[in-house]
């Protein structure tokens, strides 16, 4: 039975990143998948099939809008046109959640289509908080901010990442999106304890968890360099880190991200089913 009110909050259940090639199967039987996430920028055309599919899906699923292009960490001001587009999308779709990244992607009006890294300093903290205030005021709702995958560090950083995110959340009131695969990738690349990161993370602020696959490479010294690629299954140590997280946080909405070499629906659904099993083990 359809109940619009039931879609105003992401359930503490598995969701997946929506891909148009899965539309028919999702509409017929979504299996373990209880909610869907879209990349905001893919639904900023004026009409046609993408918007029609989104309208249809939002009648049957709680939706999460995940922005990948606002450049919240950018040194320049936020793009007013893009803010207006986000406001428009969020107002007509009325999703259960809106999230963006602790990253930048635009400089000097050029968009680089990647999530670029930030130093964690008082100056960047101030700037990010100003941008988040502006975004939350514009779209009229609280957002979730996602932790990045790190391949390198900034010599100038003076904050640890969990403390930096906690302080942003404290100052702006935003919630956090915890990407457990990103934690694992960063922890491997920069040789810190992923469990220690989770222990330091303000889990009470987490409104959503992400999981995804990564690629393996090596740095100049032959040490592992993991790359957040969203192109394969979630690996076992990341599932274990999810269990570790959920044991502390309690049940949360858990999303499987698979954006490159997108598999057939049953493969993606099986990942969601595995997340469902992980969630079942957690006392509510």
């Amino acid at each position: 039975m359809l109940d619009a009110a039931a879609h105003d909050k992401l359930p503490a259940a598995p969701g997946v990143g929506y891909k148009p090639q899965h539309f028919a199967q999702i509409t017929e039987d979504a299996g373990s998948v209880k909610w869907l996430e879209i990349h905001a920028e893919n639904y900023m055309g004026d009409g046609g099939r993408p918007i029609a599919q989104l309208r249809h899906l939002s009648e049957n699923f709680a939706m999460s809008v995940h922005g990948v292009g606002l450049s919240i960490g950018g040194e320049g001001p936020l793009d007013a046109d893009h803010l207006a587009r986000l406001k428009h999308l969020v107002s007509w779709l009325n999703p259960a959640s809106f999230s963006e990244h602790l990253a930048w992607s635009t400089h000097d009006s050029h968009f680089y289509n990647d999530l670029l890294p930030l130093p964690y300093t008082d100056a960047s903290l101030q700037r990010i908080c100003t941008h988040i205030d502006q975004l939350q005021d514009t779209i009229g709702r609280r957002m979730l901010l996602e932790n990045p995958s790190s391949y390198l560090a900034f010599a100038e950083s003076t904050w640890s990442e969990p403390e930096f995110l906690a302080e942003i959340s404290r100052r702006t009131g935003c919630g956090l999106l915890l990407d457990v695969n990103n934690v694992f990738v960063s922890a491997t690349n920069l040789e810190f304890s992923p469990q220690g990161y989770i222990d330091a993370f303000p889990l009470d602020k987490v409104g959503e968890i992400h999981l995804g696959g990564h690629d393996e490479d090596e740095d100049d010294h032959g040490r592992p360099l993991l790359i957040d690629s969203h192109g394969r299954e979630v690996v076992d140590p990341v599932w274990a880190l999810l269990d570790y997280t959920l044991a502390q946080s309690g049940p949360k909405p858990v999303l499987i991200e698979w954006d490159n070499d997108v598999p057939d629906w049953p493969v993606l659904e099986a990942e969601a089913a595995r997340a469902a099993t992980a969630l079942e083990r957690v006392p509510a």
């Binding site: 004026d46 040194e75 893009h82 968009f111 289509n113 390198l152 100049d220």
Partner: protein, 255 residues
């Protein structure tokens, strides 16, 4: 004590888009050693994601050139024209001119217009929805009233004119068993009856007539312009293409 190097985003992007430059000082690994290969991850991510965006935006150009050539051209293009907005669905608007400006592609004169067709198909795909009029609404008008009528066309409608057989090239490279394109000029109409844009070849002067309508001319005024270009202009056939494509969204007969 050394002063800690800070890295501005201007410095980051300059080094990211130019593999000849070292990673900025101030980016490091876990042992405070230079970032090296770690910085190359960003170089690679940006180049790969924008190259993929170009492949999905211009599948026919990619097929005509071959993957390796397309990769090479995309690599140059993305440095000359990085996206100016996060709406990647519209990336590549300068690609037709870019192709026409490449000395080594001068013998493939049709590439620019073929790329324009691919851009137009994408615009049409994402254009606003519109409800077409019932075809009978036109039939109900007297011939005089018809000539004094203006037509509102759907936002998805696109008209292209080319000295090259761009529709034939497009079909030959997207449709199994399509005929080999003959050397000829082609004007193309794109309509979107539902969700999939449909490109069709326009009869002679059809493009003149539709563009005049888009500019606010009445059917009669547009007819004069079309007939001036080609006496054999077939109003009925061109109008039928618009009607079949669900491209007419309103009639204005008030003069």
């Amino acid at each position: 004590m050394s002063i800690t190097a800070t890295v501005s985003q201007a410095e980051f992007t300059r080094a990211m888009m130019d593999a000849g430059q070292p990673a900025p000082e101030g980016l490091q690994d876990q042992n405070a050693q230079p970032a090296g290969r770690r910085f190359s991850v960003y170089r690679n991510n940006v180049a790969v994601s924008l190259t993929e965006a170009m492949h999905s935006a211009f599948p026919v150009i990619a097929k005509l050139l071959g993957k390796q050539n397309m990769d090479g051209l995309a690599g140059i293009y993305l440095r000359q024209h990085p996206p100016s907005s996060p709406l990647m669905m519209f990336y590549g608007e300068h690609f037709p001119k870019f192709l026409e400006g490449m000395e080594q592609l001068k013998h493939l004169g049709y590439l620019g217009d073929t790329a324009r067709l691919e851009l137009a198909l994408r615009r049409a795909y994402h254009a606003a929805d519109a409800t077409p009029i019932a075809p009978e609404a036109l039939g109900a008008l007297t011939p005089d009233a018809l000539m004094n009528t203006r037509l509102a066309l759907a936002p998805a409608v696109e008209v292209l004119r080319s000295p090259w057989p761009i529709h034939g090239l497009w079909r030959y490279n997207t449709e199994d068993g399509a005929p080999k394109p003959e050397p000829q000029a082609q004007d193309v109409l794109i309509t979107r009856p539902e969700f999939d844009p449909i490109p069709q070849v326009l009869p002679p002067a059809g493009a003149v007539w539709i563009r005049a309508l888009m500019g606010g001319a009445t059917i009669g005024e547009a007819l004069e312009q079309a007939a001036a270009e080609d006496e054999s202009f077939d109003l009925g056939a061109t109008l039928a293409l618009l009607l079949q494509g669900g491209a007419i969204t309103a009639l204005d007969s008030k003069g």
